[in-house]
């Protein structure tokens, strides 16, 4: 059997009113897969998702839901196939979370919208799936944003969708909720074979959870592929219009960049131990130099972004006299030296020498004052 279709757009144009914002949108997500849209604020991620969920009119092209043109499908049938969690939170009056989840059963229940036994069982199951059982009897207003997001996800699950559309499911959530939600999403895709299309702001998480990533740049889909393909090179930095140093695609870390020219302090770092000092100096707006680091050091990305000068040597090679000389020259021009580095070994002997040199000059300081 061929792979089961989920959701597909063909040459889709989206926008508000009659104004086309993005055109030629070609996206496809199959059953059991996760497609994530990334892109800067206002680039059109939500516009695409809102068009797919029929909140905005399609301005051109087609949306195929389970291989059928969505415009020709009756609303109820779409409701049984596609469900969503959007960024706007509903404000249902006097409803418990269980009842909010229950509204997901609407496409399946009778004329009065009263849920039967089976429906309530499904509600309980959905609440369990998203780990929200403990809030089931609370009012939807009483619970936290994170809980509300879970409840909305449970509601979407109750609709028994084959396609799930999520607009920024992790916004406003703390890291525990972010992880929980994404784990649930991942599980849903894999276990229930739901096709999931979502937008995310956290690139590091997008990289970890998505099968495919689509970059939205305000005109259309500028890049589409596996996370490895999309995050290769400096494309993501270009997409968001940030400098090369301020983002580290391997770890997804973000850095504030410093533009101080002449370093006033020198930090002897390595192995990640220097990072807190870098951030501290950056916050206090003291331009600094960092060294000596291996090119593949854990703190290399942070040093590149924060320091005005980095003295580095090739990975796993000896630091050598030449690097030490450069470091000493640099240190001579600085007023103070900090040494957060505590582990020394055969490969970074030069840093030990550097520390002794700083002590002799009387520039070494322990704590920032």
């Amino acid at each position: 059997m061929t792979e089961k279709m989920g959701l597909k757009t063909e040459n889709l144009s989206v926008g508000y009113g009659k104004k086309i914002l993005l055109s030629g949108v070609e996206l496809e997500v199959k059953a059991g897969k996760i497609l994530t849209l990334i892109g800067p604020n206002g680039s059109g991620k939500s516009t695409i998702l809102k068009t797919i969920t029929r909140q905005l009119r399609t301005l051109g092209g087609k949306i195929l839901l389970m291989d059928r043109n969505m415009e020709e499908l009756p609303g109820e049938e779409i409701a049984k196939t596609l469900s969503m969690v959007m960024t706007e939170r509903p404000t249902p009056e006097l409803m418990t979370c269980r009842e909010v989840v229950g509204t997901g059963r609407y496409p399946y229940v009778g004329l009065m919208g009263i849920l039967g036994k089976e429906d309530w069982k499904k509600v309980e199951k959905a609440l369990e799936t998203v780990l929200a059982k403990e809030v089931a009897d609370k009012s939807f207003y009483e619970i936290s944003d994170g809980q509300r997001q879970r409840v909305m996800l449970a509601r979407a699950l109750c609709q028994e969708p084959q396609v799930l559309v999520l607009d920024e499911p992790t916004s406003y959530l703390d890291m525990r909720f972010k992880l929980d939600i994404l784990e649930s999403i991942r599980r849903l895709a894999k276990e229930r074979k739901i096709a999931i299309m979502m937008s995310l702001h956290e690139l590091d998480l997008a990289m970890k959870v998505s099968d495919e990533i689509a970059c939205v740049d305000g005109k259309g889909i500028s890049r589409l592929g596996t996370p490895e393909e999309v995050f290769r090179g400096t494309y993501v930095q270009e997409l968001y219009g940030v400098s090369k140093e301020s983002y580290e695609p391997l770890t997804g870390e973000l850095f504030l960049s410093s533009k101080g020219i002449q370093p006033k302090a020198f930090v002897i770092g390595g192995g990640g131990e220097g990072i807190p000092t870098y951030y501290r100096l950056q916050r206090e707006e003291i331009p600094f130099a960092a060294g000596i680091l291996f090119e593949n050091d854990l703190e290399m990305a942070a040093a590149r972004a924060c320091a005005s000068k980095v003295i580095s040597v090739a990975a796993f090679s000896e630091m050598g006299e030449e690097a030490l000389k450069r470091a000493k020259e640099c240190m001579d021009e600085c007023e103070t030296v900090f040494c957060p580095l505590t582990t020394f070994g055969p490969l970074n002997e030069a840093n030990k020498a550097l520390l002794e040199y700083a002590q002799n000059c009387g520039k070494l300081k322990n704590v920032l004052e």
Binding site: K50, T53, G75, K80, M84, P90, Y106, M112, G113, W120
Partner: protein, 358 residues
Amino acid sequence: MEQEKSKKNMEDGGTEKLMRREPVMMRRILFFSGMLLLLFGLVAWNVGSGSQSMSFREILDILTGKVQEGAAFQILWNIRFPRICAAFFLGGALAVSGFLLQTFFGNPIAGPYVLGISSGAKLVVAIVMIMLLSKGVRISSFGMMAAAFVGAMIAMGFVLLVSLRVQKMSLLIVCGIMIGYICSAVTELLVTFADDSNIVNLHNWSMGSFSGMAWGNVKTMAWIVLLTCVITFLLSKPIGAYQMGEAYARNMGVNIRGLRILLILLSSILSACVTAFAGPISFVGIAVPHLVKLMTKTAKPYLMIPGCFLCGAVVTLFCDGIARTIFAPTEVSISSVTAVLLAPVVILMMIRKGEKRR
């Protein structure tokens, strides 16, 4: 309709028990039975009280058909009963209309009076009334109804036109109030240039009153109100979905445009009907849905619609009874009673809600 409802509740009971929610059920049963009791009590009070005092015996005789003539019979059968029926149907209609508008606008102070619907109806009724009277023709109840309906729809149409441009619902309410002022101003203007006799007529009508109801009128309004309310009740499910917001309702398979048109049409018919027969009546439409929500602790349409109807009827009967008796034999306008009694309720409700949300 009530029986059907309670039967549904019973069926629901099994699953709800499963989830230890009997208190909720009890509350609903208590609410509906309490409302029915109150309704009977108020009907009895309204039947018995008035400028012409009657003994229980007399009333019973008339009710059982033993007495079919005489002053008492006339008063009871041709004055008090139609009036009670009118208060029942129109009060229910007002409350259901208020519930629909509050759902549609997602705003707790939306109601037929606030949104300028009543004022629009009043303006058109005034125009038609003055025009016809100047030709010596008395306006028929059907004509009044039609004029009030047209006026209500025009006012509502304006509000809807603005709603297409404005996203914020609170602005829409403000707009409705402004339209109401404009309509009132134009009505005043017309009154300035109208004959004295016309003014008296219009003034009487615009004070809002259930007096002088004929059985024919009651029949017409009963048909319109019941039919509209049954249709509304049948829309419980999409209305419930709409309470989750438009986007989610659409995702649940609701035809939003169709539902919006229906909601507006139904609420306009209901409030137009009230305005046509009894004149503008304030605050019942706003306050009753809040009262029902407070008492039933739910906003589910399939409970709210019958609940609002019952509670609206009860409140209106009570207010009409007071309007008739408080300064008897002089009658007070119904709106002055509803405003004094219900405006504080609305204010209290808003304060409570504000505290809860924070």
